[in-house]
């Protein structure tokens, strides 16, 4: 898989890399189907050369947003510009984009090489150029020896690699990825995910990647946009999204959180599980819910402790241990596996936070 990384870049890679990056701007994009609103005045800015993941549960409008950028959906309101050019009503074939679909999008009657060269063929480029470019792109995705295969002779992962090569063959301004990994096996998924990221870094093409899998989004993207009910919930780097979620929805959707009741004092400190911690932002005084990450919680075996271990799930280096408090609150903690041997279900434990909660929300909103 490293064929194109080592050595001098091929002509195709050089051409792709030398394109000035284009940004994508959605302003106030709205799309409704009958009574359901798929996109609700969505504002989104994808910087040139950026890898942006659009993340959200099914039905949040992320696919509609991508299809609007591609041109398959015409917004009811709002505009879409690419590199400063308004493309809101431009048909998909005139948008200069590359797109990889969920699955089964390869033309079944064409070989892998012909699939890759399709965009050049419809642009009436010469046979020599088509051949050269198809070969170079297949090499880029690690399938140099599969050019003469038909799609049904390729595995799911290989098909998606060809689809990626096909999308890149037209040297698109923007690369759109519509859950391209969701139909693949877990192992292939991780492998291809990393490869997509490697290729994107190498080429610097502006990329929008739609997924419902938060791990996928966090691991590859420069920034992640979380969508909920057609609106943008938060857009930030993976790091920031995880450590400083803007809303309870983001905190819960990205990573694991435990919701623990707490009291916010007038002096800006919060009483949480018997400890007192400072709070950053302004939150109304009174009963609140603190959202804690599993690595922000410690569990100490203590016969007089208020918590009781209910489950433990081994996952290699760490073990996820869940304890329940007297009021029924469940708190998850990640414990180094070698230090978790005592924490078996039924053990009485003391539960304490080790850091400031990622988010405090008013008690009613949790």
């Amino acid at each position: 898989m490293t064929a194109a990384v080592a050595g001098t870049p091929t002509a195709t890679v050089a051409e792709l890399r030398d394109r000035p990056p284009a940004d994508v701007v959605l302003s106030g994009v709205t799309r409704t189907y009958g009574s359901t609103t798929a996109l609700d005045a969505l504002d989104l800015h994808v910087a040139g050369g950026e890898f942006l993941a659009v993340l959200g549960p099914s039905g949040c409008g992320k696919t509609t947003a991508l299809r609007a950028i591609a041109g398959f959906e015409v917004p009811d309101a709002g505009t879409i510009t690419v590199g400063g050019r308004d493309v809101t009503t431009v048909p998909p074939s005139k948008r200069d984009m590359g797109m990889v679909f969920q699955a089964y999008s390869l033309f079944p009657n064409l070989t892998a090489a012909d699939n890759v060269a399709y965009g050049l063929a419809v642009r009436r480029r010469g046979r020599t150029e088509r051949r050269r470019r198809a070969a170079e792109l297949l090499e880029l995705v690690g399938l140099a020896d599969r050019g003469d295969r038909y799609p049904h002779q390729l595995s799911g992962g290989q098909q998606q690699r060809v689809a990626l090569a096909r999308a890149l063959a037209v040297a698109p301004q923007v690369l759109l990825l519509d859950e391209p990994l969701s139909a693949l096996d877990a192992q292939v998924r991780v492998q291809l995910r990393d490869e997509i990221r490697r290729i994107q870094l190498e080429l610097g093409t502006t990329t929008v990647f739609v997924t419902h899998d938060q791990a996928e989004a966090l691991s590859v993207a420069d920034r992640v946009a979380v969508l909920r009910a057609g609106r943008l919930e938060q857009v930030a780097s993976p790091d920031e999204l995880y450590s400083r979620p803007a809303t309870a929805f983001v905190a819960r959707f990205v990573g694991t959180t435990s919701a623990v009741p707490a009291q916010l004092r007038a002096d800006g400190q919060v009483d949480l599980l018997g400890t007192t911690r400072p709070v950053a932002g302004p939150v109304p005084v009174g009963d609140v819910v603190a959202l804690l990450r599993p690595e922000q919680v410690v569990l100490r075996p203590d016969a007089g402790g208020r918590g009781r271990v209910v489950t433990r799930t081994f996952s290699g280096g760490t073990t996820r241990v869940t304890a329940v408090l007297p009021d029924g609150t469940e708190v998850a903690a990640d414990v180094v596996s070698t230090e978790s041997t005592e924490l078996v279900p039924g053990t009485a434990v003391e539960v304490a936070p080790t850091a400031r909660p990622v988010l405090l929300v008013p008690a009613g909103d949790a």
């Binding site: 591609a70 074939s93 797109m99 033309f107 079944p108 009657n109 399709y118 965009g119 419809v122 063959a169």
Partner: protein
């Protein structure tokens, strides 16, 4: 296995044996004086010329034209049906109607058309009240083609709909994003992917039209040169000794022609679907 024996037995005796017998006995003639059977190719050679030859040509022309028209119209209708968004009810309605109409051949169909645009037909009377006469007679080759399409178009809709539904929307979308026009998509992807199914369906239409007998008999008697009508005539004429052999030769000719079409079809099919599993 024992359980499949009755199946193979019946197919062997009622389907394959008659065809073999046909192939052999078409080369036997009975002497009109001595009633001796002898080997001869006279029946076979007689069916390729004269009235019989014209009957083959008439049948071939009628079935090729109606199969082609039926293919185009059925494809158009199926595509139009599938292109209606949120048209699930329409789809179900049309498919059920197609299932019914594709089976609506034979005698009732002929009578329905006679009642509509026959000499004493309802539509004929209606039009003649308005001072219009029909451009072509129902009792002609054109009329017969019009009637055949009545069951061929639904048959096409029934057989091609699954193939059309098998065209993935992603293919069209991928082609669009890559800069392809609608025409380019159909020439490079949609058409080639659909071709094997369309070929198969049109061969089925051809075979149906070529073999149609009841509709033609009820509509035109034997006034139009069609090989099925000639076979029936040969078999029912008990006066002419040797007409039975003529019938066998004519029938064998039909089997050979259909067989040839199937061979061409098989070859085209293999070429057209090289890319599939």
């Amino acid at each position: 296995m024992l359980g499949t024996l009755p199946f193979f037995l019946l197919v062997g005796v009622v389907l394959l044996l008659p065809v073999v017998v046909l192939a052999v006995e078409a080369f036997r003639v009975t002497d009109p004086v001595t009633y001796e059977d002898t080997w001869s190719t006279s029946a076979i050679t007689s069916v390729t010329t004269g009235a019989y030859g014209r009957a083959y040509l008439g049948s071939l022309r009628l079935s090729l034209v109606t199969a082609a028209l039926g293919t185009v119209l059925g494809l158009g209708l199926a595509a139009a049906m599938l292109s209606v968004r949120r048209g699930r009810l329409l789809r179900r309605l049309l498919l059920t109607a197609s299932g019914v109409l594709a089976n609506f051949g034979g005698i009732p169909l002929a009578f329905a058309f006679i009642a509509a645009i026959g000499n004493a037909g309802v539509v004929t009377a209606l039009l003649s009240d308005l001072g219009i006469t029909l451009g072509a007679s129902l009792y002609s080759t054109t009329g017969l083609a019009l009637v055949y399409l009545y069951f061929l178009v639904p048959l096409m809709v029934l057989t091609i709909t699954p193939a059309l539904e098998g065209l993935r929307p992603q293919w069209r979308e991928a082609s669009d994003v890559l800069g392809g026009s609608g025409w380019q998509y159909w020439r490079r992807v949609g058409g080639p992917v659909l071709l094997p199914s369309v070929l198969g369906a049109s061969v089925l239409l051809f075979a149906s039209a070529f073999a149609a007998y009841a509709t033609a008999r009820a509509l035109v008697g034997s006034s139009i040169p069609l090989v099925t009508l000639q076979i029936a005539d040969a078999l029912s004429s008990n006066v002419l000794v040797g007409s039975e052999a003529q019938g066998k030769a004519l029938a064998l000719g039909m089997v050979v022609l259909v067989g040839a079409v199937m061979l061409v079809y098989g070859w085209l099919q293999r070429r057209a679907s090289r890319w599939s599993a």
